[in-house]
C-alpha cells in the first residue's frame, strides 16, 4: 500500500485537522465530537440539515457543508458510520429553533446509529428531528430479503435540494417532504475498474483482474452484483443506463438531473467521455437532460470506476437545484 498517511488509526482525525486549516472562514470543526459545521451555524429559524457517514467518500459529506446545503456533517471512521454521540452533538449544534433533518444513506450501521441519535435527541435535547433514508441503488433488489437498496449518488441531490428548501425558510415537514420526493425520484448504478484500499487493512478490499470489471458496486468497496470482462466505454455506459431506465420511467416532460460520478480514482477526462456516451443513450431513450453534473462527488477512496444517478425533475426541483450554494466542493450562484 502506498498512501499519504502517518498512522492508519489517525487518518480521520488528521484529515479533519487539515480540513479545518484549509477553510477557516467557511467551516468550523469540533474535533472532540468530530463534527464539521458551517461557520455561521446555527442559523436562527432555519431547519438544520445534518448528514454523515463513513469517511472515504469525500467530498461527501463534509465537502457539502455550507450555505444552501448541509449545516453539519458527522464523519465516521473509514467506511464506518459515525456514532450517535456525534450525531447528537451535530444536531444540537445546528438547531436554529426549527428542528433538524437527518439525511441517512441506507446502510444498516448508518440507519441504526441515526435511529439511536434521534431517540437521544428526543429524550435529552427536545430538538425535533426528522430523518430521510436515501436508497437509490438499483444494483440491489429492494425486497424483504435484503436491508433494502443502498443509498449512493442521490445523497448529493437530496442534500442540495433539501438544503435549498431549508434556506428558503420551509418548515421541517416541508424540507423532509421534498427530501423524500428527491429520493423517490432518483436511481443509481455504479461500476468499478479496480478495488479500493482501506488504510487500516492496507491491501485491496477485493481482487479484480486487469481484464475484468465489477458491475453494481456500492461505495464501500463491497463487491458488486456481477463480474464481467472489461468492455469499451460505450458498452459500460449501457450497463449503467439500462438498469436505471428500466427501474423508473424518466421520460416525463420535466427532464432529468444527471450525475456522472467518479469513484475516486478515475480522471475527469474519462468521466466526461462517459458522460458523452450516457447522454447519447439518454437521447436515444427519449429522456431529456435538464441539468448535469460531472465529477468525483460520492467516492470510494481510490477506487477507479464511475456511477450514474438520474433524478426525475420538475420545475420546483430544478429551481431548488439552481438555488445558490456555497460549500467547499459544490458552489454556484453566490
Amino acid at each position: 500500500m502506498k498512501k499519504l498517511v502517518n498512522n492508519p488509526a489517525d487518518v480521520v482525525a488528521e484529515a479533519l485537522v487539515g480540513l479545518a486549516r484549509a477553510h477557516p472562514g467557511r467551516l468550523r470543526v469540533d474535533h472532540v465530537n468530530r463534527v464539521v459545521q458551517r461557520a455561521d451555524a446555527p442559523v436562527r429559524g432555519k431547519v438544520g440539515i445534518v448528514s454523515g457517514g463513513g469517511t472515504g467518500h469525500e467530498p461527501l459529506h463534509s465537502g457539502f457543508v455550507g450555505p444552501g446545503m448541509l449545516d453539519a456533517a458527522c464523519p465516521g471512521e473509514v467506511f464506518t458510520s459515525p456514532v450517535p454521540d456525534q450525531m447528537l452533538a451535530a444536531t444540537t449544534a445546528v438547531d436554529g429553533g426549527a428542528g433538524v433533518l437527518h439525511v441517512v444513506k441506507n446502510y444498516t450501521g448508518d440507519v441504526m446509529n441515526f435511529d439511536m441519535a434521534a431517540e437521544m435527541a428526543a429524550a435529552e435535547s427536545g430538538v425535533p428531528v426528522e430523518s430521510v433514508v436515501v436508497d437509490d441503488d438499483v444494483a440491489v433488489q429492494d425486497s424483504l430479503y435484503t436491508a433494502g437498496r443502498r443509498g449512493v449518488g442521490a445523497t448529493l441531490f437530496v442534500e442540495k435540494i433539501a438544503g435549498a428548501a431549508a434556506e428558503q425558510g420551509r418548515d421541517l415537514a416541508g424540507v423532509a417532504g421534498i427530501a423524500r420526493r428527491v429520493d423517490a425520484g432518483s436511481r443509481s448504478m455504479g461500476m468499478a475498474l479496480t478495488s479500493c484500499t482501506v488504510p487500516a487493512k492496507g491491501s485491496p478490499t477485493f481482487d479484480l483482474p486487469d481484464d475484468e470489471i465489477e458491475v453494481g458496486i456500492g461505495i464501500h468497496g463491497e463487491p458488486g452484483r456481477r463480474r464481467v470482462p472489461i468492455a469499451p466505454a460505450g458498452e459500460i455506459a449501457e450497463m449503467l443506463v439500462e438498469p436505471v431506465l428500466s427501474d423508473l420511467d424518466f421520460t416525463g416532460s420535466g427532464g432529468v438531473l444527471v450525475l456522472v460520478n467518479g469513484m475516486g480514482g478515475t480522471p475527469l477526462l474519462e468521466l466526461y467521455l462517459m458522460y458523452g456516451e450516457i447522454a447519447a443513450l439518454l437521447d436515444k431513450a427519449g429522456v431529456s437532460v435538464a441539468r448535469s453534473l460531472v465529477g468525483s462527488y460520492v467516492t470510494s477512496l481510490d477506487m477507479a470506476g464511475c456511477s450514474l444517478t438520474l433524478l426525475r425533475a420538475d420545475d420546483e426541483l430544478l429551481s431548488l437545484w439552481d438555488a445558490p450554494v456555497s460549500t467547499t466542493a459544490l458552489r454556484w450562484g453566490m
Binding site: 488509526a9 463513513g54 465516521g76 471512521e77 473509514v78 467506511f79 464506518t80 458510520s81 459515525p82 456514532v83 450517535p84 454521540d85 446502510y107 444498516t108 450501521g109 441504526m112 446509529n113 435511529d115 439511536m116 444494483a139 440491489v140 433488489q141 430479503y145 435484503t146 436491508a147 443502498r150 482501506v198 487500516a200 487493512k201 478490499t205 477485493f206 456500492g218 464501500h220 468497496g221 463491497e222 463487491p223 452484483r225
Partner: protein
C-alpha cells in the same frame, strides 16, 4: 447449594478476555468482512473493546449492572457501523436485566436472553439472516437448557460456547438477508459471517472466564 455467582470482577475478566481475543483475531475478522462486507469488522471491534478496557481501567468496581452499562455505552460511543449499536444494545439490555444483584446461573442466562432480544430488535433480524444472531441465539438456548437441568455454570457456559461455534459455522452456506452482505444476494453464500464469528468469541471467552 449455592452455585457460582458472577460478580463485577468476573465480568471484568470476561470483557478483558474478549478484548484480547478480538485483538488477536482482528485481521481474521476483517478478512471475513472483506469477502462479503466492507472490511472493517476487526478494526471496529478492536477499537471498541480497547475503549471498554480503558473504561474498566478507569472506573474500577461497581455492581455488575453498572459494568455492563458502561461497556455498552463505550461500545456505542466508539465503534460506529452496525457493530456499535448491536453490541452496545446487547450489553445495555444485559445491564437492565441484571439489576443490582449478583448474577447466578439463571440470572445470567436471563440476562443474555434479554441482550439477544435487544440485538434482534435493533437489527430487525432473526435466526437464518446470516448475522451475529445465528451464533448468539443457539448459545442462549443451550445455556438456558443446561441451567434449567441444574448443571453447574461452567458446564452450562461450555455448552453455550459449543452451540455458538456451531451456529457460527452454520452461517457459511446462508444467503445474507440483513446488513451490508445482503446487498450481495446469492454471492454472500459460501462465506462465514464476521458478526457471528465475533459473537462466538464473546461466548467462548465467557465460558473461559465467568465460572471462576
Amino acid at each position: 447449594m449455592p452455585d457460582t455467582t458472577i460478580d463485577a470482577d468476573a465480568l471484568g475478566r470476561w470483557l478483558r478476555a474478549f478484548a484480547a481475543a478480538i485483538a488477536e483475531q482482528k485481521d481474521a475478522l476483517t478478512a471475513l468482512d472483506a469477502e462479503i462486507g466492507d472490511a472493517d469488522h476487526g478494526a471496529n471491534m478492536d477499537r471498541g473493546m480497547q475503549a471498554v478496557v480503558a473504561e474498566l481501567d478507569g472506573a474500577a468496581g461497581g455492581d455488575p449492572a453498572a459494568v455492563l452499562k458502561r461497556t455498552g455505552m463505550a461500545l456505542v460511543r466508539s465503534v460506529g457501523g452496525a457493530s456499535g449499536p448491536l453490541y452496545g444494545t446487547l450489553f445495555l439490555r444485559m445491564a437492565t436485566a441484571a439489576g443490582s444483584a449478583g448474577l447466578g446461573p439463571a440470572g445470567f442466562s436471563a440476562c443474555l436472553r434479554a441482550g439477544l432480544d435487544g440485538v434482534a430488535a435493533r437489527g430487525k433480524a432473526e435466526p437464518g439472516d446470516k448475522t451475529m444472531i445465528d451464533a448468539l441465539s443457539p448459545a442462549v438456548a443451550a445455556l438456558a437448557e443446561a441451567v434449567a437441568a441444574g448443571r453447574p455454570l461452567a458446564e452450562a457456559l461450555r455448552d453455550a460456547a459449543v452451540a455458538a461455534e456451531r451456529g457460527r459455522d452454520a452461517t457459511t452456506p446462508m444467503v445474507a438477508r440483513k446488513g451490508r452482505a445482503s446487498y450481495l444476494g446469492e454471492r454472500s453464500a459460501g462465506h462465514q459471517d464476521p458478526g457471528a464469528t465475533s459473537a462466538a468469541l464473546l461466548i467462548a471467552t465467557a465460558a473461559d472466564t465467568l465460572a471462576g
